[in-house]
Amino acid sequence: MSTGHELLNQIETKFPGAVKVDSVTERVAFLSVCDEQLVALADFLANQMNARFVMEIGTDKRPVNQKYELSYIFCLDQEGFEISLKVMVDENKLEVPSITPVIPGAGWAEREVYDMLGIVAVNHPDPRRLVLADDWPEDLFPMRKDFEHDNRPPAAEVKKIMKEPDGNATVVSVGPFFPTLEEPAYFRLFVEGEKVVGCDYRGFFSHRGIEKLADKVLDYNQVPFMAERICGICGFVHSCSYCQAVEMAAEIEVPARARYIRTIMLELERIHSHLLWIGLAGHIIGFDTVLMQSWRVREPVMWLCEQITGNRKTYGMNLVGGVRRDIPEDLHPKILETLDKIESESRTIIDAIIKDKPLLMRLQGVGTLSREDGRKLCVVGPTARASGLETDIRVKYPYAAYGELDMKAAFQTGGDVLARTLVRAEELFTAIDLVRQALQKMPEGPIMAEFSDIPPYREGISLIEAPRGESLHYVLTGPDNRPYRWSVRAPTYAQLQAIPDMLSRSTVADFPLIVASIDPCFSCTERVETVDRSSHTIKTYRREELLQQLQNKYRGGERS
């Protein structure tokens, strides 16, 4: 019996009649549940079945059925199975019980749903605004369908929502321009002497409403180009993930060659992203040799991408159904040659790092996140793998051509900055190996699927292991050749919640390094269009959940 049916049986035994099955496949189950049962069911999934909460997506379906729909996405990582719990909210009620008391990692998502749709999560421990600006009018909710994408409401009164420290801790403000990552993010650290005892976070300064643009203006094949601009480093992840979500919803079969090309591009992106991060980490701790050398090694990858796609970043390769450019045979030798060069040069650099004692002392035991805390806080990607959690989407939920390639997820048990560095170093070599395998196995054939119209009101969920962790795209197809709802959760959204935990045993001096060690992409988290900064700046990550966690932990809220 498949995982899906087994799970549904268990749910049915525990909650008879509570769940209606909308559809179930090998990989994903779409379930509907009434709001009274939601908390108990979420609690059961997260705390007994070990499911990981990924995201909550709110959709204004009033034009279709007079309801709002909330989809709570969970992942069973051991089995590689996704679950979507759907709750219908009446347009006159606008309330749903909060699951944050049982799943702390859901805090940001519920606050975002309030900001965007005005649906209150009852019993939320920290119902502050998350995404919208401090001077946004109280009663305007931008993701409602009756809100126009170009509506610019007049500014309302500015509300101060940042927290004050308990007791007599001192506030140290970092931001609103984060100094080492040169991105908009505002941390308030509460310190006693050198020790960090708490912090609060305000982000989303660069939220620009791309999800709104997609459901009002752009069509299916215009969205990938905007999705690509969510991140200046791992843009291909987002365009690919979006396309996969639409393909799943519309049941479009992507040709094998296109899947291999996507895999190759994803791994090339991981190579340059990790090399960039290694350089950046070196820079933050004042070891600029690493920065210079790893960025030097990285450059040929960028040239290679330019040759394959026509640009060193923003590749513009993905469309719904496949890719736009082929990787011709005569480029293969060049790719292999570049990979060999990167491999040997990266080894030298990583050897130098690993054998450099003063450097190790700077990384070891800093910002430690235990396996258990990592699990509770739902961290993803290299951060999770460095804490001994075996979550790698490529292995657990194979997409593109990963199912046909041979790979092992890198993982470490240290949980500190050093472990995160080592995981990324190992992944660099795994990625090189994957590109080689994919080039060898890539079949001939078309690179674009043939399909007719995309049917409306179908759902698609796509997970991708981005260089920084798991990235989720959700698409509900719509009737006018555009998504009815498109939602993105970038990996930093999940990682940032773990920051308070990592900081709790640290000093002010370690703060920049710890934040950098999750390889954060603040702007992605906010789902903005970031500037293409691939050549000379820093990666960005997202941060949505941090606020929630910070408050829970440090502001007298319940700590899970």
Binding site: T289, M292, N311, R324, K355, D356
Partner: protein
């Protein structure tokens, strides 16, 4: 520790200087690079396919009385080359130039203006003359070798075609 420092020194020396002399020497781009868009007004049909796919919606189709202008404002261009991909006659292409900074925003506008063809029935302009000519050519390709007059409805606007067809079904005059 000293050994590792020594190794690092060797690594740097071996790599040597890698910074390119740009901008003193020109920056090279790879083949297939997607740079500045150019519009060839001699080829453009005014079909508007490029405007329909452009992700930042920066290609405009401006219909005036007797003309249609295709205007590309590439200050907002994302260099995706979707326009190039869909253009049926190759009139919009991306070249390999990337130094596009300018002090005048109008430098980033390209346009092609085409004359419109008028409906034989009601006189409303309904498509560009070039588009009509291309349709006519494609309909009677050269290999047929016999010059046949294009069907009459070619030069009638869609609205009139509907009306005429409706009246034909009701037993009125037939359009050829």
């Amino acid at each position: 520790m000293w050994l590792s420092k020594f190794k690092e020194l060797k690594l740097c020396l071996k790599a040597g200087r890698v910074t390119l002399p740009y901008p003193l020497a020109p920056g090279e781009t790879m083949k297939g690079f997607r740079g500045r868009p150019v519009l060839n007004g001699d080829l453009c049909l005014g079909c508007g396919a490029c405007a329909a796919v452009c992700p930042p919606r920066t290609i405009f189709v401006i219909d005036e009385q007797d003309t249609r202008t295709i205007q590309v404002d590439y200050s907002r261009c994302t260099y995706c080359a979707r326009c190039e991909e869909v253009c049926p006659v190759g009139s919009i292409t991306l070249n390999n130039e990337f130094e596009l900074a300018t002090t005048n925003k109008n430098d980033m506008k390209l346009s092609a203006t085409l004359s419109m063809a008028k409906c034989k029935n009601c006189g409303t302009p309904f498509t560009t003359q070039r588009m009509l000519a291309k349709l006519t050519d494609d309909y009677y390709p050269e290999w047929m070798q016999v010059k046949v007059d294009p069907p009459e409805w070619f030069s009638i606007c869609p609205d009139c075609r509907k009306k005429l067809e409706a009246s034909r079904l009701k037993g009125g005059s037939k359009i050829v």
